[in-house]
Symmetry: C2
Subunit: 105 residues, 2 copies
């Protein structure tokens, strides 16, 4: 069955944020991001695709446009198409985020 | 900022599964489903849209096509466009699921 478990799939790397694709079609992708303390995804934007971040474990600073907030487990953030966005693990432990994008760029 | 917290947004009803929309655009929606024990979403399909279920709390039986599995917190299930699917809270406590669909039907 097309079912995966976050705790089994998450990966981390001392060099940079680790990405694992869980599922995708031409309509979307669903990835897992694993960030060691201090790791980040730099500011960028996707024209024509919406993104949703879900903080599964740990804490992250999420920037969307000109705003930012540090959020913890259970936070769900929507990045509208075209908005500049970034994430950073500002906590003392690992951060795991589930990431959806529609459509796949 | 477009950030919401699952624990604050989840709703439950003694009558039927409760749905809360968190975010949407023409490209996707992101909903929260709250199921009391025994509640379910009946088998249905969406032509042209993929769905992803994420079990946030509790346990659920997920059926996709002719297969089914009981899964717990941290499970991520992909329902390909056109596949018949359903969920049921088979546990003793509440179940909360995050649900993504792309594109919005």
């Amino acid at each position: 069955m097309p079912i995966k478990t976050i705790a089994h799939e998450a990966r981390f790397s001392p060099e940079k944020m680790a990405k694992v694709n869980l599922f995708q079609s031409e309509r979307f992708f669903c990835d897992l991001y694993g960030l060691e303390p201090g790791q980040s995804q730099k500011p960028h934007a996707h024209d024509g695709s919406d993104k949703v971040y879900v903080v599964v474990e740990g804490a992250a600073r999420v920037r969307i446009g000109t705003e930012d907030a540090v959020v913890g487990e259970g936070a769900v953030a929507h990045v509208p198409a075209g908005a500049v966005h970034s994430i950073e693990n500002t906590g003392a432990g690992r951060a795991t985020l589930l990431v959806f994008m529609a459509p796949k760029p």
